[in-house]
């Protein structure tokens, strides 16, 4: 059984070598890429506007200048070819970090991901592995509307051969991206663009090997005893807020940030359920066949005996993400919706 995952920036973690300030989520990502590009000469970067411009959000800012355009490629607006070319380069010994300008555009390269890339290791009985990371800005709450707000991780969690990761803190952003870039498998890496520059989550983040965070280990964002809330990405913060509301009502919620969907750290969730006996799963993707439902299903199967109340989930409604704020908030999980469901569960 996994125990509580130490956050790399917690007091007991080895302190980072150079003294430096807190950094944001975006800078953490940039550091991860920079460090890995420095360590691995076979690592390439491919994406739209990632070189000269440094990326729409600046995640790869400076990389082309530092590592050269033979390693950092400004690609044509061809998502399918970007993934496919990256796959070919991996087949021939490279590792590739692919940036989707927005994760929404991944649909245009869908076949190359799920049929060409995801299955390569399987098809070749292990002869070939494809060390590719596909990362990009994702998520709602920013008024990005239908095509700049998606969380479509479930499509890929449902496509065997892909790992799926979604960090919610600067430390995890860096540590998980570094691990993903070293992984032998294709990894879908969901960055939450609303967290890129969020001030109140800036933190001290180690450099180098100390900063690694393994894939497949959940993080307990907050300990608690009455209810287990399982989530990831931006919803972690909504759940922590909801936990405060619960606290005011006299209940203590444990908030688990799974960080990695595939592979999933079921043990951390099971351990928590053994303590709380109540479950709420939260994600901002549509409900039907989303990952919150997957967690709910697995726990209903495996921890039925532990559950003292119906397990619940709060997700986006089964709608696209509309543009203007009132509509957007109507369809997405909110602190209020989570708190209400949580209270219902603990009071069951």
């Amino acid at each position: 059984m996994a125990t509580i995952q130490e956050s790399p920036n917690s007091a007991s973690a080895p302190s980072p070598a150079p003294v430096r300030g807190k950094i944001n989520y975006l800078t953490a990502l940039k550091e991860a890429i920079d460090e890995e590009m420095g360590l691995n000469p076979d690592l390439l970067c491919m994406g739209e506007d990632i070189g000269l411009l440094g990326g729409a959000f600046g995640v790869t800012d400076g990389m082309a200048a530092k590592y050269g355009t033979h390693r950092v490629y400004d690609m044509p607006i061809s998502e399918a070819a970007i993934v496919g070319v990256a796959c070919g380069a991996c087949l021939n010994g490279k590792s590739v970090m692919v940036e989707m300008q927005f994760i929404d555009f991944i649909s245009c390269g869908f076949d190359q991901i799920v049929n060409m890339t995801a299955t390569y290791h399987y098809r070749t009985a292990g002869e070939v592995s494809i060390p590719m990371v596909i990362r990009g800005p994702a998520g709602g709450y920013g008024g990005g509307a239908l095509y700049h707000s998606q969380m479509n991780e479930a499509w890929f969690a449902h496509s065997p051969g892909l790992k799926v990761v979604c960090p919610s803190t600067p430390s995890d952003a860096k540590g998980l991206l570094k691990s993903a870039l070293r992984d032998k498998n294709p990894v879908l890496f969901y960055e939450i663009k609303e967290l890129y520059r969020r001030k109140d989550i800036e933190e001290f983040v180690p450099v180098g090997e100390n900063s690694l965070v393994p894939l497949g280990k959940a993080r307990i964002a907050q300990e608690g005893t009455d209810l287990t809330i399982v989530t990831y990405g931006q919803n972690v913060y909504h759940c922590l807020e909801a936990a405060k509301i619960l606290q005011n009502e006299g209940f203590s919620a444990e908030v688990i940030d799974i960080r990695s969907l595939v592979p999933l750290d079921e043990e951390t969730i099971l351990t928590s359920l053994a303590k709380t006996n109540r479950l709420l799963c939260v994600n901002e993707a549509p409900m039907t066949c989303g990952f919150a439902g997957e967690i709910l299903a697995r726990m209903a199967e495996k921890a039925f005996h532990l559950l003292d109340a119906p397990p619940g989930r709060i997700t986006r409604l089964d709608t696209p993400v509309p543009w203007v704020k009132p509509l957007e908030l109507f369809v997405l999980p909110s602190v209020a919706k989570i708190a209400e469901a949580a209270l219902r569960t603990v009071r069951f």
């Binding site: 607006i77 070819a81 543009w323 109507f330």
Partner: protein, 340 residues
């Protein structure tokens, strides 16, 4: 046409001002310096023709069929009120502000609703005119695309299909030299995009995108080709993106693009060029030509006096409508997922 050029330019200038004034939020994708492409390509179309504009083509929504008069109630195009309500994210938008910026359209006005996915509406354009033909119509569809967007697979699939069935789809390539932060030499390896038409056995024309009359001529050649049943064509309009990709990118664009290149690109202002031609042809007196001076001015330095009053007035109506229009109620977020 000159008035339409002014209107398109003023739309851009006015939105920037509204944003600076704090009355407007969101990213703006400017068509500044590329207005001749829109005006020239729309001018000769029939009311019943379809269009498919994208992010840099906002003025197309209200310029469609504008030859009939902007305020003509029989016009088959969007009103300035509708377009402004969309920009402002208000219930008066034809899409009730469910998706943003240029992702609107109108079945009634024969405008295809784009998604963000570049080149993604060209197949729909082919489908729309196919359906029209089956109904005995002769509508064509003009689709607008940045040169960068042509790298999408669906661009190829759709044009190939249209060529097989000789569907009247005219694909305008707004070649403004840049796709966001990527220069053309990293996007494709041709000098003239129009040559791509060869690969589909269809005509590929090149127009001076700064000269509205040249755009008009080339598009009308394609229109005739299409109406004669000869199918699709491509018109590459050579132009230059005056500012950033969007206004969030203005500062960065000033860094990633050499100043000389930008200055050269901006120097051929389509309004100034049109005026010069009109003066040469005696259609405009030299005095009148100096009247409104929006041309060759940066968007920031331009003000209302640089535009004909009817342009300012029309747009102001749109803006006031938009500002007054309510935000749609939250519950609409859950509506219209499925048709009953």
């Amino acid at each position: 046409m000159l008035l339409q050029l002014y209107l398109a330019r003023y739309f851009d200038v006015r939105l920037i001002k509204e944003k600076k004034r704090g009355r407007l939020k969101g990213t703006l994708y400017s068509s500044h310096n590329q207005e001749a492409i829109l005006v020239g390509s729309l001018f000769g179309l029939k009311s019943t023709d379809w269009i498919s504009p994208i992010h840099r083509d906002m003025p197309a929504f209200f310029l469609k069929d504008a030859r009939k008069g902007w305020r003509n109630p029989d016009r088959i195009g969007m009103t300035i009120q509708e377009v402004c309500a969309q920009v402002w994210g208000k219930a008066g938008s034809p899409g009730r502000a469910r998706d943003n910026w240029s992702h609107i359209g109108s079945k009634k006005n024969r405008i295809i609703h784009s998604t963000s996915m570049l080149a993604g509406t060209i197949p729909a354009a082919a489908g729309v005119v196919l359906a029209d033909r089956l109904n005995g119509g002769d509508a064509l569809c003009v689709t607008y695309n940045g040169e960068g967007s042509t790298a999408q697979g669906v661009f190829h699939e759709a044009i190939n299909f249209a060529s097989v069935h000789k569907l009247p789809v005219i694909t305008i390539i707004e070649n403004n030299e840049w796709a966001y932060g990527t220069p053309n030499e990293l996007g494709y390896s041709l000098d003239d995009f129009a040559r791509r038409a060869d690969g589909y056995g269809i005509p590929g024309l090149i127009a001076d995108g700064q000269n509205v009359l040249d755009v008009y001529d080339k598009v009308m050649q394609c229109v005739e080709h299409a109406r004669a049943g000869n199918g699709p064509s491509i018109v590459e309009c050579k132009s230059f993106r005056a500012y950033g990709h969007g206004d969030h990118d203005d500062d960065r664009a000033a860094k990633y693009r050499p100043t000389e290149e930008v200055e050269a690109g901006r120097s051929r202002d389509p309004i100034a060029i049109m005026k010069r031609i009109m003066v040469e042809r005696g259609a405009l007196s030299p005095e009148d030509a100096t009247k409104f001076m929006a041309e060759n001015k940066g968007a920031a330095e331009t003000d209302n006096s640089d535009f004909p009053p009817e342009v300012v007035a029309y747009l102001t109506e749109g803006v006031e409508f938009a500002v007054a229009s309510p935000v749609p109620p939250a519950e609409e977020g859950g509506m219209w997922v499925f048709a009953e």
